[in-house]
């Protein structure tokens, strides 16, 4: 059970008067075991502030990168608090592990981990406000109700606003086990309320990381070794320093920083800088040599990630056996806002401004880089111009380097990555190579499924398995009697990390396209086979049936149009997609995507729809265009001219159908990415009879 701590009496919030609540989360959950989830028991987590002047402010401890926690988490609090939504304001609080636990958002966890705690906080605050009003009126609490930010006396009709009651409420003991609203009473949860961040984002007022400005600030860009793992051998700054506006040139751990009076002068200075690099051992690496290593690794024994029955016996006794190899390339995150960080490091303290998914870790890394205790660093959370995993745990390289540089300069500095820096020094979605084998019984139904995964590891091995590298395969929902998914790490010097729907984004492609191969090998309809294999997974079966119905699966299409289906689970939600395509003279067009989704209870259907569309378009960019290639240890792509992404004229019509549900919420931000590539690729097979076993799709090769 959660329990609530009244923080306003413990002096946590310096000058803020009124009622401030923090709360404590249950100690264990699967997410927490993975290190992503709530803080340990006993640590306060989030709070609501009701100021005497009437302003209600919610502290949002999840970074905002478009996925909507600022609004959705506020809805949870506002619903139970029973306040006036039009008076709600949301803020990013300072980093404070004691108050909030670890402030981080990865794995679409905002709503699914905060659903209970935020509602409990709102309900508890409401109960205390009611208690204060009852005391003031000398009536029993049961005679009071709440209405849009006020407590109403049931007998007299008198009203006391929350702001008038806040100080008195804060002095009351914190009640335990306050009941939550019956969902039938919801007037904010489940409603498409407008995003709280929109007004600032359409006026230029919203401050992203790159918009931080500090008095006396310099601007820097860093020359980084183009080869992964390389370092500075020597450099000559003479020409760089001659560039107008360049103030100084300083070596830091990440490379050579050119510091100027504007970003432009720093960029010009870097062009003039002469650096000799010690390129290191990765300088011989290229895409072909990495692929050869993956192929060799795939032949080696792997660690078991998922096992059912006996795969060897299952394949041996199968009436028909098929094999295929699938692979995907490295991918860049490419958020619209390139990496950047602003730091002002002083002798005994520092301020750091950054757009990050993981504020607590960012503060720790900045502190560590300059030899300060984390609590000496004031971390300022900025809006993120996209994240997609690039600004999360383990991917915060852009933060400590700015702190290090500021310390060396003794002045505030903003370090900006150019688009080229961002694309060529990313931590990429790992390439992956998978050998698949499957067996059919005499009637053509799948009875054996084997995947041998060779993929870089970045989360560490547990019993030999990197759980991200096999996500989407190891947790397949299908009931197949003989199954084996195994894994061997195939590490390279290319830095890799989380990328929207990590693991699932490639493994759902592998699994759902190979299953499609099994369907056609058995002469079966792809939806029919999936239905049969999902009888023990009612929620996934539910979205499959919904997508089939809404896409008119099985009914004729206009000439030249073809369908493909894929299903999957990710971030605790269930999804099915049917893509409708045409392919003419080597040109592929995705016309329509029908998406059926079950994430349990929905907090904001408008934001949910945004996220599902967003994930589909993000996944299409990868499936149709995304490929990072390596030559001589360097990334060959550099900007949007050679790493293109989906544009407005390329998007399909997207239909979203959400299953009504009373289950606890699952995640949404990443959920729709994995199924789009396989549904399109399966539609391509329907159109051409050709299997695309390697991404990105190259329509010219399908003629």
């Amino acid at each position: 059970m959660s329990s609530i701590t009244n923080l306003s009496r413990r002096g946590f919030i310096g000058s803020a008067a009124g009622l401030v609540l923090g709360f404590v989360l249950p100690a264990s959950s699967k997410l927490q075991a993975q290190g992503f989830g709530p803080p340990p028991a006993g640590k306060p987590w989030a709070y609501v502030r009701i100021a005497p002047d009437g302003q209600i402010t919610f502290m949002i401890t999840k970074g905002e990168m478009g996925q909507g926690p600022m609004t959705a988490l506020s809805q949870l609090l506002a619903e139970e608090l029973d306040c006036d939504w039009s008076k709600v304001r949301a803020e990013f609080p300072p980093v404070n592990p004691e108050l909030y636990g670890r402030q981080t958002v990865v794995g679409s966890i905002s709503v699914r981990t905060m659903w209970g705690p935020m509602r409990t906080a709102g309900a508890t605050a409401r109960a205390m406000l009611v208690g204060a009003a009852a005391q003031q009126w000398g009536v029993d609490k049961t005679q009071c109700r709440t209405d849009l930010g006020a407590v109403v006396n049931g007998s007299t009709g008198a009203r006391l606003t929350y702001s008038a009651l806040a100080d008195a409420a804060a002095k009351l003991p914190v009640p335990e086990n306050v009941p939550l609203k019956d969902p039938k009473q919801f007037r904010i949860i489940g409603k498409p309320v407008k995003r709280l961040d929109t007004p600032d984002k359409i006026s230029g007022r919203a401050l992203f990381g790159l918009d931080a400005r500090v008095d006396g600030m310099s601007y820097a860009v860093v020359a980084r070794c183009p080869v992964f793992g390389g370092k500075v051998a020597s450099f000559d700054a003479t020409k760089a320093k001659a560039v107008p506006g360049v103030k100084t040139v300083v070596q830091i751990a990440a490379g050579v920083a050119v510091v100027g009076d504007s970003t432009w002068s720093a960029m010009q200075g870097r062009r003039a800088l002469e650096v000799k690099w010690d390129e290191g051992s990765a300088a011989t690496l290229n895409t072909a040599s990495i692929r050869a290593m993956f192929i060799a690794r795939a032949k080696e024994p792997g660690a078991v990630a998922r096992k059912a029955g006996d795969i060897e016996a299952g394949l041996a006794k199968a009436a028909k056996k098929i094999e295929a190899v699938y692979e995907v390339p490295f991918l860049s995150h490419t958020p619209m806002e390139p990496m950047n960080c602003t730091a002002h490091v002083r002798a005994d303290s520092a301020d750091v401004w950054a757009a990050t998914q993981s504020m607590t870790s960012a503060r720790e890394l900045a502190a560590q880089a300059v030899g300060l205790a984390p609590d000496k660093v004031d971390f300022h959370t900025m809006f993120m111009g996209g994240g997609f995993g690039r600004r999360g745990e383990g991917e915060l390289d852009y933060v400590p380097e700015a702190a290090e540089l500021s310390k060396k300069l003794g002045t505030p500095v903003k370090v900006t990555w150019t688009r080229e820096d961002d694309m060529q020094h990313d931590m990429y979605r790992p390439a992956s190579y998978v050998e698949l084998a499957g067996g059919l019984d005499a009637e053509g139904w799948p009875v054996a499924f084997n995947a041998r995964v060779a993929c870089p590891s970045f989360t560490g091995l547990r019993n030999g398995v990197d759980f991200i590298a096999v996500a989407g395969l190891a947790d397949l929902e299908y009931t197949i009697p003989d199954m084996l998914i195994d894994y061997r790490p195939a590490n390279t010097p290319i830095p890799v990390s989380f990328w929207r729907a990590p693991g699932a984004v490639q493994n759902t492609y592998f699994a759902e396209c190979f299953l499609d191969e099994l369907c056609s090998a058995g002469g079966k309809d792809p939806v029919e086979v999936r239905r049969r294999l999902l009888t023990k997974s009612p929620r996934l079966l539910g979205v499959l049936n919904l997508a089939a119905e809404k896409s008119d699966w099985g009914k004729p299409l206009p000439a030249g149009r073809y369908r493909g289906v894929a299903v999957g689970t990710d971030v605790g939600s269930f999804i099915a997609q049917v893509a409708e395509i045409s392919i003419t003279k080597g040109k592929l067009k995705v016309h329509r995507v029908v998406c059926a989704f079950d994430c349990g209870q929905v907090v904001n259907p408008a934001i949910l729809r945004q996220q599902l569309e967003s994930g589909i378009i993000f996944g299409l960019s990868a499936a149709l265009k995304g490929e990072i290639t390596i030559d001589r240890g360097r990334v060959q792509q550099s900007n949007f001219n050679n790493y293109d992404v989906m544009r407005v004229d390329e998007i399909p019509e997207i239909e979203v159908h959400v299953v009504p549900s009373m289950e606890n919420p699952g995640g949404a931000g990443e959920a729709s990415v994995p199924c789009i590539a396989p549904s399109v690729v399966n539609a391509i097979f329907a159109a051409t009879g050709k299997r695309v076993r390697k991404l990105p799709i190259r329509p010219a090769e399908l003629v």
Binding site: Q610, E613, F640, M646
Partner: protein, 159 residues
């Protein structure tokens, strides 16, 4: 360093800068107008879009010397319009942004399009707006908001 005079959001401004310095960095670093965003530096993504003499321009690739004597409008200029600019109204109504970083550029491109074509078709929108990348994929909402802004501008918002 040479001085360059231009009109910025209705006010005369003079800046001293190297002639090659792009307008983007003059706006952001020298003048503190950070609504105009840096996305690619090569006029490939549209995040830095402003209006120069009423036409959309990529400020990341527009030397300050070429702006001398011209009229520049940024997202801050659009945002201060009274009554609210149709694009602002429509973007608010449709609740377009996700991360929001590209939206100032999207809005500036949309506003310039609407000055040229009062009621653009989907094809008109695609032709102009394909130059503005949104990694969140808010494209359907952007398209809807442009149609809505067109309605607001032409007949006060009646569909």
């Amino acid at each position: 360093m040479p001085a360059f005079r231009f009109t910025l959001n209705g006010q005369p401004r003079t800046v001293e800068a190297t002639p090659e310095m792009p307008l983007l960095w003059v706006l952001r670093d020298q003048l503190g107008l950070t609504g105009t965003k840096f996305g690619c530096g090569m006029a490939l993504c549209g995040a830095c879009t402003v209006h120069i003499d009423g036409a959309a321009a990529r400020s990341c690739s527009m030397p300050i010397s070429s702006v001398a004597g011209k009229i520049v409008t940024t997202i801050e200029g659009i945002a201060m319009a009274q009554p609210a600019h149709p694009v602002t109204q429509a973007w608010l109504e449709i609740d377009v942004p996700q991360c929001g970083y590209c939206q100032p550029g999207q809005m500036m491109s949309a506003a310039a399009l609407l000055m040229k074509k009062k009621t653009p078709s989907d094809a008109d929108i695609d032709e102009v707006m394909r130059g503005n990348i949104c990694r969140c994929g808010a494209y359907r909402q952007i398209r809807a908001a442009i149609h809505r802004a067109s309605e607001i501008a032409t007949n006060g918002g009646r569909a």
